[in-house]
Structures are given as C-alpha cells and as structure tokens.
C-alpha cells in the first residue's frame, strides 16, 4: 500500500520550530520515495541540488521538491544535528519512562505490558526497571482492570491503562463512560481521575474488522473525557507526557501502522499541550484537517497537489476532544475552504463533529461546503483490496481538493 511505503520511508528528521503554539515539521523525502510518488500518480520529484538538466527540468516544468517547505537553517549533516532519533513506539516509551521516573505514583496496567513488554513494545523494559506492581500484567478483564485503574486514580495513583488494541476497550466502555468520564462530576468534584487510557487502534494491514476499529468516534460523547491522537514520534512523546500530567482522564489514541515511524526528537524534556492542534504545512488555498495515520495520506496527496499548483494548509488536529478552534479557525479565516480527512466511519465520526463545530463557529468564513472524507461505513474487510477501498486514499484527497478549489 502506498501509505505503508510512505510510513516505512519516512526516515527523515523533522526539526520543530520552537514557538509555543505552532510546530512545523519538515519532511525531507529520500530519493527512493519517488517510487511511492509514482504509485500515487504524482510527478517524479528530484532534489533541487541535483537539478542540472535532463528529466523534468529539461521539459521546462518547475518542480517543487518538497511538499513541506524545508527549514533553511537545517544542519548540514546528520551527526551534528541536535536530538536523537527513535521510532514512535520508542518515543512513547521514553515519555512514559520519564514520567514514571519523575513521579512514583505513575503506574501502568494492561495485558502483557510487563514481562512481554507490550504487544507493540511500548512498555518494553519498564517492568524490569520499575517492578511488577508498577507495570502490572493484568488478566484479560478489560472492564474490571480499567475500573481498577479508575479506583486507584481516585485514591492517589496515576495509572496508564493500556488496551492491547483500542477495540478491546469496548469491553471497558461501562467503566470509561460511567466512572472515568463522569465520576468527577457526580462526586461534586471530590475525586479526580488522572488516568491515561492508551492503545493502538485504527485500520491496520488486514487485521480484520474487530482489530481495525476507531473508538474515538464512540468515546467522543462521553463528557469529562479528553481525547488526543498522536501521529509522529515527536508528538507521541509530548502527548504521552502531557496526558500523564493532566488531572483529567485522557484517552491517547495510537495507530497500529505508525509505531515504526522514525524521527529525530529533542534531547531536552518537552511536554505538548493536549488541547492544541499541530500545523503540519502552512498554505493558502485550502485547510485540510486530519489526524493520526490519515495525516500521512494527506501529506502524500499534498505532494501531488503542490505539483499541480495548489497550496494546501495541513493541520493535524491532534486533540480530538476538545477541538482546537483557534488554530482551526485561523486557518479557515485564511483559506475559506475546508476538507476533513479522517479514518473514522462516516456516521458519527470525529469528522462529523468537526464539521458541525466549524459550521457553528466559522460559517461566515466558508466559501464552499465543508468536505469530509471518512472511511466507509463497513466493517473493515480482511481482503487487502477491499480494505484499501474502506479507508481514504491520497487520490481521493487530491480529487476532493480539486473539487473544493474549482
């Protein structure tokens, strides 16, 4: 799948701009990514530095080499670059480890988080370091161990509950809705629930319907709950730390296909804001709102769009509940066109809520109807071709932007 190749090839560093609101990631695609571009029907892209004749430049086409503007101040060689490189699951672990080190009340609960190191290795090594009680291997009883996490959060601990797959947390819905979300309110503010519920979700690679669920749409109505979705190693670590430090119950959505993304992240400690969205690519023509894995489909489509002369602004909303209406609103006020690209199902998904929020708040700034690309309302099929057609692909994104900008 084109997106998987994209995921595997994203080995380039992204150095964030140190402003407190906006983080710009720059993706420098390696030369071999042109094969992905070819698959997507985009033009061949070559590095600007090698433009010396032949190929596209001879044909007089002006090539834009990067979908995202590269920071001019990028260091010359990888060795002298600040920070350290790691994969997304390692970034999550690093964030978790730092928080556990910093605060002894932070603990982990879940299936196979301890000795096994987590089904996606997010907690690998932590049980050896912190012991079996702080990294607790639970029996297979999601509702009860999530409730146990809530009870311990009420009594002074800060548990991080892992759903081995987010879909399994459907079994914990009783506890997440009634106790996690509501208990602070029904107790009149007497008990806080500083719990983090995290795990991998989303459509993977032929995992079948039950392992391919998007629970963000089911949880979004629960009052008292915050939801964030990470998409890069940088924001994964930052959001993990922020979620653990938050006094509110936070659900952190990870994606099964993004765990092996590699990125260079700062050595210094950083914590991101749970409520803020991330500016991925500033632009002028259209606002594309997305999150999690679809960010990469959008960026792949953006390459194509850029070469077709469009200038999309891409925002990773990151905070699924609540929405960052400031970042989103500023963008809409600039571009007047909105495309939402999400992996949720069409019915009742995050896109549906986002569309509604935009209409409520920014109706006057819109020049066109809000387009929302979501997954089909089908149980995710096993067959690869069918699965591809279930989720939004870059070609659809390109077509949608072209339609919006007519």
């Amino acid at each position: 799948m084109a997106s998987l190749q994209m995921a595997a090839l994203l080995s380039a560093p992204s150095t964030p701009v140190p402003s407190d609101r906006v983080r710009v990631g720059s993706l420098r695609l390696s030369a071999s990514s042109s094969s992905a571009a070819r698959n997507g029907g985009a033009l061949v892209v070559r590095s600007e530095a090698k433009v010396s004749g032949g190929g596209a430049s001879a044909r007089g086409l002006s090539l834009i080499t990067h979908a995202v503007a590269e920071k001019a101040a990028a260091a010359s060689s990888a060795d002298s670059k600040p920070g350290h490189e790691l994969l997304l699951f390692e970034a999550l672990r690093e964030g978790l480890d730092e928080e556990m080190e910093r605060d002894p009340t932070v603990c982990v609960m879940g299936e196979d988080v301890g000795h096994y190191g987590g089904s996606y290795k997010v907690t690998k090594g932590l049980a050896t370091k912190y012991g079996d009680l702080r990294v607790l291997d639970t029996p297979i009883a999601e509702n009860s161990f999530t409730g146990m996490g809530i009870g311990s959060a009420m009594t002074g601990l800060r548990p991080v509950v892992e759903g081995m797959n987010m879909g399994f947390l459907l079994l914990a819905y009783n506890q997440i809705s009634n106790n996690c979300g509501m208990l602070h309110y029904t107790s009149g503010g007497q008990f806080k629930i500083p719990i983090v519920i995290r795990g991998p979700g989303g459509v993977g690679r032929q995992l079948g319907a039950e392992h391919s669920q998007r629970l963000e749409s089911y949880f979004q109505s629960i009052p008292g709950l915050q939801m964030v979705a990470c998409s890069t190693p940088y924001n994964a670590k930052g959001l993990m730390k922020a979620a653990i430090r938050s006094e509110n119950p936070v659900v952190l959505f990870e994606h099964v296909l993004l765990y092996n993304l590699k990125e260079r992240i700062p050595d210094e400690e950083y914590v991101l804001s749970l409520e803020e969205a991330e500016m991925v690519r500033p632009g002028e023509h259209v606002t594309i709102l997305t999150y999690s894995r679809m960010r990469y489909h959008v960026m792949q489509a953006a390459k194509t769009l850029v070469n077709k002369g469009y200038d999309p602004e891409v925002i990773d909303i990151r905070s699924l509940k609540p929405f960052d209406l400031y970042t989103i609103g500023n963008s809409i006020k600039k571009t007047h066109r909105v495309l939402i690209v999400e992996e949720c199902m069409r019915t009742g998904g995050i896109g549906a809520s986002l569309r509604s929020a935009i209409i409520d708040n920014f109706w006057d700034y819109l020049d066109a109807p809000i387009l929302c690309l979501s997954s089909q309302d089908v149980p995710t099929p096993y067959a690869g071709t069918l699965e591809n057609w279930t989720v939004v692909q870059p070609e659809q994104i390109v077509a949608a932007v072209e339609q919006l900008c007519k």
Partner: protein, 431 residues
C-alpha cells in the same frame, strides 16, 4: 471464639422461599452445606487446587425459635457497653434516616430512584464501624446508610438527596452517587457491579502505597470494603475482581448483602448455585456466610476479615444473609415477595435484636436506648431542616466539575481557553 473457626453447622435444609407447595411460615433458604466438607479449617493460603480446603463456615443462623438463648452467655457479652451503644445508635440512625427519606419522597422533596436500606442495618454497622478514617467504602445505589455509617454527616446526605448545593456531592450525584473524599466513601454507583472494580483499584492503591511508595502504617494496609447485592454476584465484574483481588492479595473485603431479591428477581431464580460464599474458595479466598440480621455476628466476621486484609493476607468474600423491609426502591410496588417471608425477617429486625441483647446483658437501660432514639430523631429532623433551607445549585455550577482541569473544554476561536470565557463561569455557554 474466632469467627472463622468451625462452629456448629446446622444440617442442610434447602427449603426454597417460593415454591408452589409453600408452607406458611417456612424458614427461608438456609445456606448450609454438608458438615463433612470442612473438618479442617486453616488459614494459610491454598497452594494447590486439589488439596485446597473449603474456607467457609456458616455462623449460627438465628432460628425463628425465639426461646433459644443467645449463643454467648448473659454474663459474657460479646461487646463492651460503649461498642454496643455505638452500634445501636448507628443502626437507629440508618433506620430513622431511611424512614425520613420515604416521608420526604412522598412529600415531593426528593426525586428519582431512591433505594432504602431498612432491615439491612446490621451489615453496614457491623462492618463499617470497625474501619479507620483512611479505610475505603464502595457501595451501590443503596448507599445512604453506608455513607452515614462511615461518618458522612446526615445533613450532607439529606441535602444531597434534596438536590441542594450543600449536599455531599453538591447536588450533582443524588441518591445513588454518595461520595465523600473526607470520609473515604468512593461511591455510590447506579449500575450494579461497576463499583467492584473501583473498590479493587482502591485496594490496589493501598498495596501500592505500602510496597512502592513505602508509606506504611503501623496498623497495616488500608482496607477497602465493597458492598453489593446478590444480583451482582452473577455479573462478570464480580468474578473478574475476585480473581484479581486474590491474585495480588489485595486488602479488600467483598461484602455480599444477599437480601434474596434483585428488584423482582428472586436470587434462586437467577443463580445456578445460590450459595454465594462458595464462590470465594473457587478463586482461592475464604468464603464466609454470616447471619446479616445479627450485628454482633457480622462484626465478628468483619473483624477477622479486616485483620486478614490489614496483614496483607488478601481478600475475603463475606455473604451476609439479610433482607430489605421495603421494596427495591420507593417506586417498587413490592408485589412478588410473600408476606410470610417478610414476616419472618421482620421478626429478625437487627435493631430489635440488638436492643434485646443490650438489655439482657445489662449493658444499658431501656431509657438510655430511648434517649438514643430521641437523639437520632433530632439529628434526622435537623438534617431535613438543613436540607430544606439550603439553596439549590445555581446556574454557575453547571459546568464546574466536568473536568478537574477545566482546560479540558478546549481552546475557543479567540485563542483563549473556553473556561476563561465569562459565559462559561456563568454556566450559560454551550460546551
């Protein structure tokens, strides 16, 4: 005599409460079992499944034959005068409070679903009066008396029931959600079973504080009591938590208030094996059956279970045979329970039984007990007056406790956090 040592075990008698050949005045389901099942009762943890003894006893069930003297001799009361009066007062408070709730409900002062505890006072008093302030209580929707026994002031509970801002949960919880951080009452839950994992978490927290944070107390681990009913014992969360609590030897006591009825569903019609105490040994923990209409027997069992938990020996499952004198809730017409069953248990009223015990053992005089009754009446009256005169929650309270950190409402279009918007604090903003 320790509660868990072998006591006289009556022969098995399985007369069901409801049957077509109902004999008038038949005794209720009598959860005894074959005496041969446990000749040896020891308290080590069971190592192998094969040789694990059944950790279960049945304490003396008060027979309907009232001519039989109490098990302890008149010269050796099981409790001191102070304790006896404390227990009496607590049970009378529970009863008077609940009776007042019924009155207030029918007068339109409280609404919704109200589940009264009349008849079950011995369980609440028997257990909770042994706890320290830092021990935790987790209950169900039938939680008023648990809160009162744990020390939540009657005023706060009554005001909560009236939906006033001075209620223990600011009027936001209601009858089924009594919480008190000061007295470590962790709820009050409307769905049955959903409090049990929360209680398990509180017990986990106690163990964590001791082992990881090294915050140990001289008296031992903080104990958590989880109260729930017979209907809950068929729910998955019950079994899942029995497993986890025993697995990690958590300081929790699972207290089953078996009043034989889950609204209109008889326990015997809902449960394949109605002897709930047996489910403890199935998970490796002691299972005890006790007469829940006798506060002294409950207290005896509770003492042992709490001591076990404090020492870190793990959980206990205690099945208290009890009965609710009123319907499931104030909306329940209570048509299915037979009059003779009700009469049987009314004759075993725990308050009357304790009163009789106190007088027979010369622990206090009739007039002293009456003055306690009067004192409690005043307390309850005062609670009603307080609740009546308390203000209703203002609009500004609507959005206040949704998040512990109100930044969770997010960032508004103007770049400020929504919670900074004055409309928010006025409660008139749309979330």
């Amino acid at each position: 005599m320790a509660a868990f040592s072998a006591v006289k075990i009556p022969p098995p008698q399985f007369t069901t409460v409801r049957s077509s050949s109902q004999r008038p005045g038949s005794s209720p389901a009598h959860f005894a079992h074959s005496p041969s099942a446990f000749n040896s009762i020891s308290f080590g943890s069971a190592k192998s499944v094969r040789s694990r003894p059944l950790f279960a006893v049945s304490s003396d069930v008060v027979s309907s034959d009232k001519t039989k003297p109490a098990s302890s001799s008149a010269s050796n009361p099981a409790v001191t005068r102070e304790v006896a009066l404390e227990l009496y007062e607590d049970m009378v408070l529970g009863r008077a409070f609940e009776d007042m709730c019924a009155q207030m409900y029918y007068r339109g002062k409280m609404f919704g679903f109200v589940h009264l505890y009349n008849g079950q006072e011995a369980v609440s008093t028997g257990f909770i009066k042994l706890l320290n302030q830092s021990d935790k209580v987790v209950s169900t929707y039938r939680d008023h008396v648990h809160a009162l026994s744990k020390g939540v002031p009657s005023r706060e509970v009554m005001a909560e029931l009236f939906g006033k801002a001075t209620g223990c949960c600011r009027g936001q919880g209601g009858s089924m959600h009594m919480f008190s951080a000061a007295h470590n009452v962790l709820g009050g839950f409307a769905f049955i079973g959903e409090g049990i994992p929360v209680a398990t978490g509180a017990a986990f927290s106690a163990k964590y504080h001791h082992e990881v944070l090294k915050q140990s107390k001289p008296e031992g681990l903080d104990v958590t009591l989880a109260f729930f009913g017979d209907g809950t014992c068929n729910n998955g969360q019950f079994f899942e938590c029995l497993n986890m609590a025993q697995l990690w030897k958590l300081p929790i006591i699972f207290v089953v208030e078996n009043n034989l009825w889950a609204i209109g569903m008889s326990h015997l019609r809902a449960t394949s094996d109605p002897e709930i105490w047996k489910k403890g040994p199935a998970f490796g923990m002691p299972g005890v059956h006790v007469d829940g209409m006798d506060v002294l027997k409950v207290r005896e069992v509770a003492q042992e279970a709490i001591a076990r938990a404090r020492r870190g020996e793990g959980p206990t499952l205690v099945e208290c045979e009890t009965y609710r004198f009123r319907g499931h809730s104030l909306a329940d017409p209570d048509e299915l329970r037979k009059p003779d069953e009700k009469a049987h248990y009314a004759a075993r009223d725990p308050i009357i039984a304790l009163k009789k015990y106190i007088i027979e053992h010369g622990l206090a005089s009739e007039s002293e007990l009456k003055s306690i009754d009067k004192k409690i009446d005043d307390v309850v009256e005062d609670a009603v007056e307080f609740a009546d005169s308390s203000p209703l929650p203002p609009r500004t309270q609507l959005l206040e406790n949704v998040f512990a950190d109100p930044k969770g409402f997010g960032i508004g279009p103007d770049g400020k956090y929504r919670c900074e918007d004055p409309l928010f604090t006025q409660g008139t903003a749309q979330v």
